[in-house]
Every structure is written in structure tokens, then in C-alpha cells.
């Protein structure tokens, strides 16, 4: 076995095995790969939007096309990229981290991959119809999404795509929950699970609790479009929003917690120490998830329809668990032995950039402040710091950290640094101007605007930021393709990892582990082994 890992062989995988194998690693890679492909596609749509918005007037696309583009950008990012990717990392890594040989119900999980592919193709297939793709925004509020306002098959395709991806996510969540409940190795108590696995567990709890509301909303919307009589005035539009946001807020934490866990492990590994305040952080994740089920009304502050004070209370209360997580991250670095390798850079980017989204989230949690900035570019800036600063930076931290585990080879460090530097600067250039635009009165989801003075400048800066991000992603892809061929062999544990997956060969064989597992006496079993060896 040692010779195999040292030479980092690449076992050729045929397309059938890649997309029809029942090994959890194949399923996780397929789900994550499909999700990442949709991330790239949705990113291209963002580039198109930044081209159009770089100046006032219509230059690149028509209003109708622009509306389809931002709809499919947001929908793809949420339904086809962020949610699948956040669960895919769990499908790949949770069994390894808890010392299991596989995932529970692998065939169901594999079906989920195919549902995601089908759903994505159907949603994007709307572009091929004569009336174009859906143009109702990623939320598809009724009555804008009903047949009189959105005729044509694009909206129907969108609904089918959303349902398929949501069912896939729900299936994966149940598979992962069952895996965590039933397949932990002896000694792996819940409070010894690595933080990534905890993040995935908490995300799965929210999926099974909130995604059924989305599926129901979509089925009812489909019925309403074809038979009518579901979301009728005066309150049908509100009923749709209650169903949608009951899903729509928890989902932003579904696509966040696994990456919080990944970043926490990255920070601990590259600070050379175990995570600070593990128990309270686990507790805060659970509190976060519970609270997140009660905050959906903060999307409806300007609608005269919900108890604004109640939803302001629950939303503001989220700062407590979020603050605890930051305390743990900074506490881990405090007096650590920090190594600035690529995964750590992206984890630091996550810490710094998500903070902007988190703090402005407290800001918009106040109804009086939200009355102004709601549905403006301020909100666009806010959620891009949570989703790009949080989810995407966290995802790249995870990719750089676990790429050697998955492929047996390390990603190139020089290109990684360029990728990080450009993406970090790009994220500041692209989204900071949007706070000013929104505060000065630019609504979101507009194809055109008139410049009252400085909007063109701010929009150009945002567009430049967008293209800088684009370049950084190209560098990442170059790095991946080069490293797959010529990357340095990683060996089982290139980073001095702390959790069980680093005891498996890279890449792990079917069944995951080749020898007996190290004893699990804490949430950092490999660190325990190293400390015992040093003490001896």
C-alpha cells in the first residue's frame, strides 16, 4: 500500500464508473463536479450581467434576456450549485471522517446525482424555447410566475428543475443523516465528530425540515399555472412567499454550515492545534439551525403581512451563535503555529469576507433599516458576501485542503496564491460598490438605470471586480488540470491533518481504510496520536 500512495497513481475511471458507481466517493465527486460545472455556467451569466450594467442604457442584451439571465444565474447558484456542492462534500468526506466504509443507501444517493443533472438540463433547456428561459427571479413570486405573467414553457421547465434538485438534496440529506446515525466507528461519539461532519449534519437537519416546503410550493405553483385556483388573491401571493421563504432562509445556512466546518478544520490544521471551543461551537451550530427555521419573515418586512418585531428578534438573535463561531476561529489562531498554505489563505478570506455579509445581515435584520435597503443593491452586496465570501471561499478552502486526499496530488501553490489574491481583491471590488449603489437608490434586478452622478463609476468598478474574479477562476482551472498530471504526490497526510480521513490512503480505495483505524478519543484523533508520540 505504501508504494501505491507514494507514487500517487491515477486509476483510470471510466465514465460509467464515474457516474454510476455506488462508492460514496464517486457519488460525492459526481454531485460536486456537476455542481461545480453549474457554478462556472452561472458565473458566465454573472459576467454577462456585469457587462450590461457597466454603463447606463442597454448595450449587450435586451431587457427580456437580462431578466432571464439574472433569474438563471441566481437559480443555478442556489439550486444547482450551492446546495448540491454543500451536500456533496458531505457525501465524499463524512464516511471518511467518521470511520465508515461507505454511505447509507448509496443507490438512492446516486439517483440524486441523476436527478440533479436532469433538473439542471431541464432548467437551462428553457433557453432553447422560443419564449426563453424562466424570468421570474430565483424566488419566482406568484403572481409574477403565474401563466398570465409568465406564459411559455420556460417557467414550467424552471419549476421541474427546482423540484428535481430539491428532491435530490432531500435524498442526500437523509442518506447522510442515516450514515451519521448508523455508521460511526466505535469511539466516534457525536461530540467527537469533526466540525465538517457537524456542519453537514446540521445542514441536513435543515434540508429535511425546510425543503419539503419548497417542493410543495413548486407543485402548487405548477398546478396554479395549469389548472389555476391555488394562489388566489388577496392572500395567495403571501401564502406562496411564506412557503418559499420557509425554505428560502434555511437554505442560505444549508449552503453555509458545511463550509464553516471545512474552514474550522482548515484553521485548526494550519494553526497546528485543535479547534478552540469545540463544544460551544457545536452547540452554536445547532442553535443557529434551530433559529434559522424561525427567521423567514424578515424577507417580508415591507409587506405589512408579518409580525416584524418577532422576525427582527429571531434574526438579530443569530448574531450570538455567529459570534461564537468567529470566537472559535480566532481563538484557534490565537497562540497557534500558523502556516499560510493555500487552504489557510482561503479560510482567512472566508473569515474576513463573510464578516461583511454577516454584519450587514444584522443591519438588515432591523425592519426600520430594511424599509430602505430591501430589494436594493445593498441586499445584493450583503448576500454576495455571505454566499461568495462565505460559501465560495469556504468551498475553495475545502478544495485546496482535500484535493490531495481525493486525487493523491497537491495543487500548485504559486497559482493558488494568485487565485486567492485575485479572488479576494475581486470580491471587494465587485461587491463593495453595490452597498453604495443600493443605499443611493439602485433597485436590484434592473436591466437598466439612469446615472444620477456616480452610479456608472460604481458599476464599472463592480464589473472590473467581476472580471478579476473570472480571471482568478481561470487560474484555478489551469492549476487543477496541471496538478492532476504533474502535481506533487501528496501521500496520505500532506498537511498534518487531525481527522480520520488523513489516515486513509490518497485517494482512498473502495472501503476507505486499508489498516486498523487509530483510536478515537477526541475530535482530533490524528493530532492525539502525534501528541502521544511526542510525549513518549
Amino acid at each position: 500500500m505504501t508504494t501505491r500512495t507514494a507514487s500517487a497513481p491515477r486509476r483510470r475511471t471510466g465514465p460509467i464508473e464515474a457516474f454510476a458507481g455506488t462508492d460514496h466517493k464517486r457519488i460525492g465527486l459526481a454531485a460536486g463536479g456537476v455542481g461545480f460545472a453549474f457554478f462556472l455556467l452561472a458565473g458566465l451569466l454573472a459576467m454577462l450581467m456585469r457587462a450590461e450594467l457597466a454603463g447606463p442604457g442597454m448595450q449587450v442584451v435586451s431587457e427580456n434576456t437580462y431578466n432571464q439571465v439574472f433569474t438563471i444565474h441566481g437559480s443555478t447558484m442556489f439550486y444547482l450549485f450551492a446546495t448540491p456542492a454543500s451536500l456533496a462534500i458531505g457525501i465524499y468526506l463524512v464516511p471518511l471522517q467518521i470511520g465508515a466504509t461507505g454511505i447509507q443507501w448509496p443507490r438512492a444517493a446516486l439517483t440524486g446525482v441523476w436527478m440533479l443533472i436532469a433538473g439542471g438540463l431541464i432548467m437551462w433547456g428553457g433557453f432553447l424555447t422560443s419564449s426563453g428561459a424562466a424570468a421570474g427571479g430565483w424566488t419566482a413570486f406568484d403572481p409574477l410566475s403565474d401563466t398570465p405573467s409568465s406564459p411559455g414553457p420556460g417557467m414550467d421547465y424552471w419549476i421541474i428543475g427546482v423540484v428535481l434538485s430539491a428532491v435530490a438534496a432531500t435524498v442526500w440529506a437523509w442518506c447522510l443523516l442515516a450514515t451519521i446515525v448508523r455508521r460511526r466507528t466505535p469511539g466516534m461519539t457525536l461530540l467527537r465528530m469533526p466540525l465538517l461532519s457537524w456542519g453537514v449534519l446540521v445542514a441536513c437537519l435543515m434540508v429535511v425540515a425546510s425543503f419539503p416546503a419548497l417542493i410543495l410550493a413548486m407543485v402548487l405553483l405548477y398546478i396554479d399555472r395549469h389548472l389555476g385556483g391555488v394562489f388566489n388573491p388577496p392572500d395567495g401571493a403571501l401564502a406562496y412567499q411564506h412557503l418559499f421563504w420557509f425554505y428560502g432562509h434555511p437554505v442560505v445556512y444549508v449552503v453555509f454550515f458545511p463550509w464553516v466546518g471545512a474552514v474550522a478544520e482548515t484553521v485548526a490544521t494550519f494553526s497546528g492545534t485543535r479547534f478552540f471551543g469545540y463544544r460551544l461551537t457545536v452547540l452554536s451550530l445547532l442553535a443557529f439551525a434551530a433559529l434559522s427555521m424561525s427567521v423567514w419573515g424578515h424577507h417580508m418586512f415591507t409587506e405589512d403581512a408579518v409580525a416584524n418585531r418577532y422576525f427582527s428578534l429571531t434574526s438579530t438573535a443569530l448574531l450570538v451563535p455567529a459570534g461564537i463561531e468567529y470566537f472559535g476561529l480566532l481563538g484557534t489562531m490565537f497562540r497557534g503555529r500558523i502556516r499560510l498554505a493555500a487552504p489557510m489563505l482561503f479560510a482567512l478570506g472566508f473569515v474576513l469576507l463573510f464578516l461583511i455579509g454577516g454584519l450587514t445581515g444584522i443591519f438588515v435584520g432591523s425592519p426600520e433599516l430594511d424599509y430602505h435597503v430591501h430589494d436594493s443593491y445593498f441586499i445584493v452586496a450583503h448576500f454576495h458576501y455571505t454566499l461568495f465570501g462565505g460559501t465560495v471561499f469556504g468551498m475553495f478552502a475545502a478544495i485546496y485542503l482535500w484535493f490531495p486526499k481525493v486525487t493523491g496530488r497537491l495543487l500548485g501553490e504559486t497559482l493558488a496564491r494568485w487565485h486567492f489574491a485575485l479572488m479576494f481583491v475581486g470580491a471587494l471590488l465587485a461587491f463593495v460598490p453595490m452597498f453604495f449603489l443600493g443605499h443611493e437608490g439602485m433597485p436590484r434586478r434592473v436591466a437598466n438605470y439612469t446615472d444620477p452622478g456616480n452610479w456608472e463609476t460604481l458599476n464599472i468598478v463592480a464589473s472590473i471586480g467581476g472580471y478579476v474574479i473570472f480571471v482568478s477562476i481561470v487560474l484555478f482551472l489551469v492549476n487543477v488540470f496541471r496538478s492532476l498530471r504533474t502535481g506533487r504526490p501528496a501521500g496520505p497526510d500532506p498537511w498534518q491533518g487531525q481527522t480520520l480521513e488523513w489516515a486513509a490512503p490518497s485517494p482512498p480505495p473502495r472501503g476507505n481504510f486499508t489498516g486498523p483505524l487509530p483510536p478515537v478519543r477526541s475530535y482530533a484523533p490524528l493530532l492525539d496520536l502525534r501528541e502521544e508520540a511526542a510525549a513518549r
Binding site: 471551543g277 500558523i338 464578516l355 430602505h372
Partner: protein, 222 residues
């Protein structure tokens, strides 16, 4: 009576410095830690948990949340636009002030402002957006609805926004502080093809000037 903008700015002036302060502190701490605790030096590692410190910290976070909520709730109670029945009954009106009533109707992709006391209807004409004409320093009572999809009435300079739903009437009160031409209002809720162009102009007049305008245009529908 304070206006919505003043109410917003007061709250903003508390929230924003706190946000910026926390942002700066955590950015600085992160950067300092990365520089100070780089691997190499042989320092003792800190413990994995300091439970007392953690719980004190969690408690102080909760206090911050409570403090923010108290000032937000106070600002909500002071909000002149709040559609609370007491506001509409005139409880917050200064003595002698007669509120002006305006019915706002949103439709793809135009606004319409009706002044039922004067029989005036202001709508978009051709490509020119509808004109909202209001008096300064007097409460203006809005009754807002939509005839098709959801829209939202937003006057950025007033720091105020309210959705318009088909089949529902939303009531709110705005007081425009001083005469002049504002930078305009717009639809903030995405409503389809020409959402970007669904704007209106806002002209604020002296109360006397407004009465003269209203009398001169009595019964006019455009």
C-alpha cells in the same frame, strides 16, 4: 413629528458605526494573529477550551443583540409611516394639520396617484413617468394596491419602501420635510419585463402652493 428619513438616519447612526467597528477589530485581529503566531517560533500552545471565557463572551453577545433590538423597536414605535390605526386616526398629527389622502395604484409598469379629495388622477403619459405631488410638512396618507403582480413603492430619499400587492391595500403615512424636487421614486420589487423603467417623479410643494395646485387641477385626470 419626525419623518421617515430622520428616523432611519438616527438608527443608522447607531448601527453603522457598530458594524464598522466590529469589522475593523476582527480584520485587525486576524491579520495580527497571522503575523504574530506564524509557525517557527517555539511558543506554548494555548488550551483548546476556556469555557468560562466563552460563556462570558456568549453572554455579552446576547447583551449586544438585546441592545440593538431595543433601539430598533423604539425606532419602529416612532416610525411615522407605521400603518398603526392610531397613526391614521390622527393621533400623531400636529394640531390643525389636515392630512392629504393619496391612492397609489401600481401596474406593470406604471404608477397612478389618485387624490380622492380633489378628483385628480396622475398617471404616466407616454414615456413620461407619473408625477407624485405632495405638500411639505403635512402628513400624507397613502392607500396602496396593485392591479397585477407585486410591486414596491420606494422613495430612496425618504428611506421608505412598501410593497403593493394585488387584492390588498397597504396604508402608510409619509411626511415630506421640505419643498423641492426629489430624485424620484421607483418600483423596488421585480415585476417583469420593464421593471427598470417603473419610476415616478416626486415634487414636494409648500402647503399653500399644494392647495393652489390641487384646486387648479381639480377633476383633472391624466
Amino acid at each position: 413629528m419626525i419623518d421617515t428619513r430622520q428616523n432611519y438616519d438616527d438608527l443608522f447612526s447607531v448601527y453603522w458605526p457598530i458594524m464598522l467597528g466590529v469589522l475593523v477589530v476582527i480584520w485587525v485581529l486576524t491579520i495580527v494573529f497571522v503575523i504574530r503566531y506564524r509557525a517557527g517560533a517555539d511558543r506554548p500552545l494555548r488550551r483548546a477550551s476556556e469555557s468560562k471565557l466563552e460563556y462570558v463572551y456568549a453572554g455579552s453577545l446576547a447583551c449586544v443583540a438585546v441592545a440593538l433590538l431595543v433601539i430598533t423597536f423604539n425606532a419602529m414605535s416612532d416610525d411615522p409611516a407605521d400603518s398603526h390605526p392610531a397613526t391614521l386616526a390622527g393621533a400623531k398629527l400636529p394640531a390643525g394639520a389636515q392630512p392629504v389622502r393619496i391612492k397609489t395604484t401600481a401596474a406593470k409598469w406604471k404608477w397612478r396617484f389618485d387624490y380622492p379629495d380633489y378628483g385628480i388622477a396622475q398617471t404616466a403619459v407616454g414615456r413620461a413617468p407619473a408625477r407624485l405631488v405632495v405638500p411639505a410638512g403635512v402628513p400624507v396618507q397613502f392607500e396602496q394596491t396593485s392591479i397585477d403582480v407585486i410591486h414596491a413603492f420606494w422613495i430612496p430619499e425618504m428611506r421608505f419602501k412598501k410593497d403593493a400587492f394585488p387584492g390588498r391595500v397597504h396604508r402608510f403615512v409619509l411626511e415630506f420635510p421640505k419643498p423641492g424636487i426629489l430624485s424620484g421614486g421607483k418600483c423596488a420589487e421585480y415585476c417583469g419585463l420593464d421593471h427598470s423603467y417603473m419610476t415616478f417623479t416626486v415634487r414636494v410643494m409648500e402647503p399653500g402652493e399644494f392647495r393652489a395646485w390641487a384646486e387648479a387641477n381639480r377633476g383633472k385626470r391624466q
